[in-house]
Symmetry: C2
Subunit: 329 residues, 2 copies
């Protein structure tokens, strides 16, 4: 096995976030579930955008956010994801490349447009997401650069992208390529709805030993394992997956790595502005430490510091100097 | 003269700002003038965007920013400006309408795309702007709704838009329509380059009594009058224009209104994040107070409070509740 050329290669949705503050009453009025993620069609996207206040556009996408954090920490990263040939596609491609991440997936011609996520941010910072998948759901197997995948130490996959058919097939292929090259496969469960629809797939992947590192929040952990008790649930998974990391919002995070357990409290944040990307950046910090063989508690601390940075401002990509922030972590 | 249906109607560039933090060294390396505004072509836009870090897109445009502030304060506003039929055009239209501003200018088909301004934000918050005018420079006279213009108490014009030929002709027509209806005409000088190219036009408009309210910063004041001494310069203009407002960055602002002089210090700001829109929001606060017959010093204070809000975050549109912020002003 050769030395990896990349630390992490991720496959994920290529999304531009459209974010605006909003009152909780509007979330209810629009029939959204506060804190949730819903897939929306063109008509619903139009209606929700109409109801949204003045917004800002910031590149997003769960796995892409994680890479942005990893790259900011100093990791070498590559991304595979599908944008369309339009202005938002150019924005997404610019932002990820400007972060130092290799991104060569060809933009897709014609309709649908580049994916966007309409994010309503409550006064307490909670985000309610409405994702129009657009071009992102058509990531074809042919977009995979299998040599590139084989050249990365970790293949990182986003559960959200397990939902549409083409990317799911592409990700299965990518897993085979990574494992064939002796690389690790990391997976983030993303959302409860993903587990509701694809939990059987995920459990089968885990039983088959295809997942080396699993990221979840505590709700996703319960949904995946069917075990309500947090410690029982994570211990159960820890017997099947080498590294399990579970985030618990303000209760911090917990990990099991090769039988070793560690826990970290949430980092204090002066003001939570927008929680979008908290889990993504936690994964970035953790993976960065893990890839460098840092002690488990230190990996968790790195995750917590990165998550705290990203929730202190609008947008799911880091703004502050993560290297400086994590120097003492 | 009927009661105005709108407080302010503005004609200006319809621009989406593309903003990223940057080191001052990069500004020099790219041949930009720190704190300046340059018009750029497609090729230069491409080159500068390539060199820019991960960015965020926020609707901008000088006069449109002023309207966003006015609307947030409670004024009834309308905007006329040219976007293209593209995603950034949709973003601009959404954001201005979501702010409660009437905007009915039809999007322009085909090339060029919607205007964008590449803004490099220095660590001290200073902004360096590079504007690709795109569709904005093709605002035709036929886009004017003369009844709408006649129905607004104040017609507010942006000097930047005096540069391209079609909008200049449109603005001359709009001035005639507004004055014919007995309305006031407000003008912001925008930038030294505009005065260098069109100072004769502006001086002629002033001498002809076509401008009722003039906004400038101290550099623009000197460029327009040819008088270096600040007080001599503003007093000179105050003899020709009923209301003159000059902003002086951290030195505050000064106004002459019907012979009355007033001055205000700059509002304290915890941290200057991005100075983009400072003058635009100062104009918003001032115009709001002036339109409601508030004392001159109070109008200046309103301007200072709005400017302080907008420089405390990224983007040239207000984020905080301006009504609440100015309640004590």
């Amino acid at each position: 096995m050769t030395q990896p050329a990349y630390d992490v290669l991720a496959i994920g949705n290529a999304i531009v976030d459209v974010m605006a503050p909003c009152a909780d009453a509007l979330i209810e009025e629009l029939g959204m579930t506060r804190g949730g993620m819903a897939l929306i069609d063109t008509e619903r996207a139009h209606r929700l955008y109409e109801a949204m206040g003045p917004a800002r556009e910031i590149s997003g996408g769960s796995a892409a956010n994680t890479l942005a954090g990893l790259a900011a920490l100093g990791a070498k990263c590559a991304f595979i994801g599908q944008v369309a040939q339009d202005q938002l596609g150019e924005v997404f491609a610019h932002d990820i490349r400007a972060g130092g991440i290799t991104f060569d997936t060809a933009a897709r011609a014609g309709d649908p447009p580049t994916a966007r996520c309409l994010i309503f941010v409550s006064p307490d910072g909670q985000r309610t997401m409405n994702t129009f998948l657009g071009a992102s759901q058509f990531l074809p197997e042919s977009a995979l650069d299998l040599d590139l995948i084989a050249s990365a130490g970790v293949l990182y996959l986003e559960g959200y992208l397990w939902d549409p058919e083409e990317p799911r097939a592409a990700m299965r292929r990518a897993i085979a390529a990574a494992r064939g090259a002796g690389r690790k496969v990391a997976f983030t469960l993303s959302d409860a709805f993903v587990i509701a629809r694809h939990g059987d797939d995920f459990r089968a992947l885990i039983e088959a030993g295809e997942i080396d590192i699993l990221f979840a929040n505590e709700h996703e952990l319960a949904a995946l394992t069917g075990i309500d008790d947090f410690h029982a649930g994570i211990t159960h998974l820890g017997g099947k997956v080498p590294t399990v990391v579970v985030t618990r919002s303000e209760k911090g995070a917990y990990a099991i790595d090769g039988g070793e357990h560690a826990e970290v409290p949430a980092e204090p944040v002066a003001k939570v502005v927008d929680t979008t990307g908290a889990g993504d950046l936690f994964a970035a910090g953790f993976l960065f430490g893990h890839g460098r063989g840092r002690p488990l508690a230190e990996c968790l601390k790195l995750g917590a510091v990165c998550a705290a940075e990203v929730i202190s401002h609008y947008g799911a990509r880091p703004e502050a100097d993560l290297k400086a922030l994590t120097r003492t972590a």
